[in-house]
Symmetry: C2
Subunit: 581 residues, 2 copies
């Protein structure tokens, strides 16, 4: 490609609404152009990256035996009503009526449509397993779309769906996808981690996220540097503390803590470690009657150490929390504790509540909690002596750096990541809802065991940039760069030799199958280099009159601080050598 | 590809709603699956065809210097309001509101968005010409979607848009697209015609349709077998008749024609050629006041020969018809003619009307028309003697087979076609509406001269089938076949030699870069052959125990009545030879 034949459009300044670096750089490099909130045109430079990502994903999906199709973007509501998602999904689901006032959705995913295809196509166990995928435009009507392609409303996703005859076979299909994902992610040239994720209400352990590591990522990735353990924060288990609870050594004392309603404030006032304080979280679970009204509410008191955060996914799995939970209202709190929030604790309750202690809280001695009286806390609290042993002890908290690794092979570290892929064993959730069955060897209908597998095709370039950039711009990995090599002649209009040498090198690299661009725009050197550094093409060869007279050209990788002089005749071979590595 | 790893799903019967053969065969061959009215999943077999079509189009667009981008499917209403299309377009434009009740459309084309990009990106004449294109999902909410992919609601289109500094440059851009379209259509392997089309209100002659020739096509293509003249029916000019009007030879006579209200009935009753009768079409044009209400209506009488049909596009270009026209109401007709339709004519009017005669009517003598009295016609009517010469003579009619070709090089013939591509010089229609300008050499803002260029990517396979099928199924041209070659081993499970020979041939063709499928499903020969004949793979090699014992396999093109025996060792070379042609 010659630059004069392409659309290169760089900006000095990022738009005011671009908060993250990938959004800033993709806009400045002319890769995306905003059309509306969360809606972007993929400009020619950006589309090249997206197409390379899609091509790698497609190859690895095909290699893994998945079969490509394309389901409609606009889907009739009927199938979405079969699973209940038409009603259950919030306003993220973009709903439309056509000219005949029939309901449709703009697909955010395609579980319903693909399950409908499976129940029509896969009549017999002999046709299984099958994996169908598409690379397709999707829409999620995010309330506050931002961060460019990181959280757009319209986006491109690869979504695959596997159909198996039984859980054992579904496991194999799932593992084949896990392997295909690793193969694709290895090819992208990004640092990433596959982390265990919570599989929600389905149960089982078969869910993994593929996280591109970046300091700016919104997800916390938990991993063990001395083993291969990795999980997301929702999933990572906080092990039970080793060793028994120390013996009580202090008396129970009501201590004035005027105006100190947080654990941190209390610890500071009393000059004790935050780890000796306990926070009281009051939750409620509701029982509904046949009409869907609340018939009865149960109040729960969750106790966590002052330095720990509650993990909602773990709490959601407590016995009794199957139908969901909520934070208690202030009225409920006052009724049970006789006190407003900020000074709550498990002693001197007005009405009984169910107490659940985090594992770490259950082994504390001489701890501190609210006195259920404004401006007072209790110190020297001890289980068994001052209050009954907790009715339930559970893992309620997010792990923190330094916690023991669940695999027993070290301690946990935390880094930030951007979720780009998610693979998920679905079981029969959708096949049951849609009565999607095949006939087994005995001619008996069985529900499909399903899995679903997504990769955010348009999100990946943004994540790659969050991981790979510097003050000058983007630094693409070779595999997904818009162009792999740029040839930059300096003032070619003034030097026919420079022009000829640049065109010769361009032709040689093109003939060798390299995705090379020749900058024949006639820009001045400073502007030309700034453009390519911003756009982030990884390999650059500069051809100038001064060095060419000595038979030299200059090679510079986007990460190199200095250029490397090369004999002009060796340049093509040198670049090809760089690309092979 | 091995068939066992692919999704092959054929049906004996077409669905009841499939009216046209392409819809029937694509459904039966498992290429598409209906999800809703006019909304189809492109199943794996169909997607392969669509992808091949798209790849050819993309290559030819790139070769012509067009640059690919991807504009959003869901587009904010604001830009569509700038051109007025948000209001003007009918219910075909699918409108949506997002969660914040902002208006959006699902794009049917992208003139507004691409013009918005151009006015931001192309600031200077130095950046022109440019051509931007996308291959993208589109939606038109057809009132009565039908015919499968021929007239779907959701479909894939290639849409390109050119931006030029002046009309002369726009002509060059237009011609480059015309050439790229011919190159792509030549590669598809279909019989087609590029026909001149009417360019509507824009004026000028720069509009061509690319029509795939098929007896079932809904468009009439006019062409001259002895020259390269070709146009669609709207566009093809009916030349003025040669020679002068004959002299009047019969008296004007009022003739009873009870119950005969059509020219055909009258001609039959009076035993005269239909060509001597004249039909009276009463039209109205409305003048609107500032409030958009009808202030005044003008009544027009159009006279056409009884054997000719009115051409609405030509009539729309009459002076006075710039703001559109309509058929007159019965009340208007009675007021002006004193008679209900069926017996109308230009003589004995109650109120004056403007008379426009078709060129052929203007040279008639002794003609027949309605007497403006029920059950009576006039015969022996003559211009000048019985009524004034027509105020206006124009080409009002569709051409018919045998008319003189407008290029003077023969007579016209008519065949049927399916419109797959349309290229169009837009002028400044959109750039003016959106105030999209660039700066010329003098620093003065100028409106972009635009063109737009579409190819129906998902419609093309349907058109290909309408042109190429037989009683057994589809017959694909090589370039867009889902697979180019199928290798069919007969009962491979019973003969290891057959299995080995089939796998060897498959591997050889694969290694030679052929898009080959090996049918390893273990189907019985009859079912296997029926599948591939239905699916329409053009080249088949059959390997059976009986012939293999004699060292032979059998080649058969999908159009061949008989198979050709080949030495097993020559099979790959033979097939490759067939593909090269």
């Amino acid at each position: 490609m010659k630059a004069s034949q392409f659309l290169i459009s760089t900006l000095k300044e990022a738009p005011a609404d671009a908060e993250v670096v990938s959004h800033q750089l993709m806009t400045r490099a002319g890769m995306i152009k905003k059309l509306g909130a969360g809606i972007y045109t993929y400009m020619p430079m950006g589309l090249r990256v997206i197409n390379k990502v899609a091509a790698i994903v497609r190859e690895e999906m095909n290699r893994a035996g998945a079969i490509e199709l394309t389901m409609p973007v606009i889907q009739p509501a009927e199938l979405w009503q079969e699973t209940g998602r038409f009603e259950k999904m919030g306003p993220e689901l973009l709903r439309i009526q056509d000219r005949h006032e029939r309901d449709f959705v703009v697909q955010p995913t395609s579980e319903e449509v693909v399950t409908d295809i499976a129940r029509q196509e896969f009549k017999s166990y002999k046709q299984l397993p099958r994996n169908l995928y598409q690379i397709q435009t999707k829409f999620r009507d995010e309330r506050r779309p931002r961060f460019g392609l990181m959280r757009g409303r319209e986006f491109i996703m690869k979504d695959a769906y596997s159909f198996d005859r039984d859980p054992a076979s579904a496991q194999i299909s799932y593992q084949a996808m896990a392997q295909a994902y690793r193969a694709a992610f290895d090819r992208f040239g990004l640092r990433y981690r596959a982390v265990a994720a919570d599989s929600g209400a389905i149960g089982g352990d078969l869910s993994e996220e593929f996280q591109v590591i970046a300091a700016t990522g919104e997800d916390a990735i938990i991993y063990c540097p001395t083993s291969d353990y990795a999980a997301n924060i929702e999933k990572a288990e906080a092990l039970a503390p080793k060793g028994p609870r120390p013996a009580a050594s202090k008396p129970l004392t009501k201590t004035p803590t005027p105006g100190k309603s947080t654990c941190a404030d209390v610890a500071e006032l009393l000059n004790v470690p935050l780890q000796t304080t306990v926070k009281s979280l009051v939750l409620a679970t509701d029982e509904l009657n046949d009409k869907g009204e609340v018939a009865k509410s149960q109040i729960w008191l969750l106790l966590l150490r002052g330095d720990h955060d509650m993990n909602e996914v773990k709490v959601g799995k407590l016995p009794g929390f199957e139908q969901g939970f909520r934070f208690a209202t202030e009225a409920e709190i006052v009724a049970h504790f006789g006190c407003k929030p900020g000074y709550l604790g498990p002693l001197n309750l007005k009405q009984p509540v169910r107490v659940v202690a985090d594992r770490e809280v259950s082994v504390l001695a001489d701890w501190i909690c609210g006195a259920n009286e404004v401006d007072f806390h209790l110190t020297g609290v001890n289980w068994g002596r001052d209050l009954p042993e907790p009715a339930l002890v559970a893992d309620l908290r997010n792990v923190v750096e330094g916690d023991l690794s669940p695999d027993g092979k070290g301690v946990l570290a935390i880094e930030r990541g951007i979720e780009i892929g998610h693979i998920f064993y679905l079981g029969t959730k959708y096949s049951k809802a849609m009565n999607a069955t095949f006939l087994d060897e005995n001619g008996k209908p069985q529900f499909f065991e399903m899995g679903c597998y997504g990769i955010g095709i348009t999100r990946l370039p943004a994540a790659a940039i969050e991981q790979n950039h510097d003050a000058k711009g983007i630094i693409w990995p070779d595999a997904i760069a818009p162009f792999t090599v740029v040839v930059c002649p300096i003032n070619p209009d003034r030097s026919p030799e420079v022009k000829t040498a640049a065109e010769k090198l361009y032709a040689e690299l093109l003939a060798a199958g390299v995705d090379v661009i020749l900058d024949d725009r006639g820009e001045r050197p400073g502007a030309m280099f700034a453009d390519w550094e911003l756009i982030g093409v990884p390999h650059r060869v500069t051809i100038g009159d001064r060095t060419l007279k000595e038979g030299k050209v200059e090679y510079q990788h986007r990460r190199d601080a200095e250029a490397t002089p090369l004999a002009v005749g060796d340049a093509a071979a040198f670049v090809l050598g760089k690309l092979k590595r």
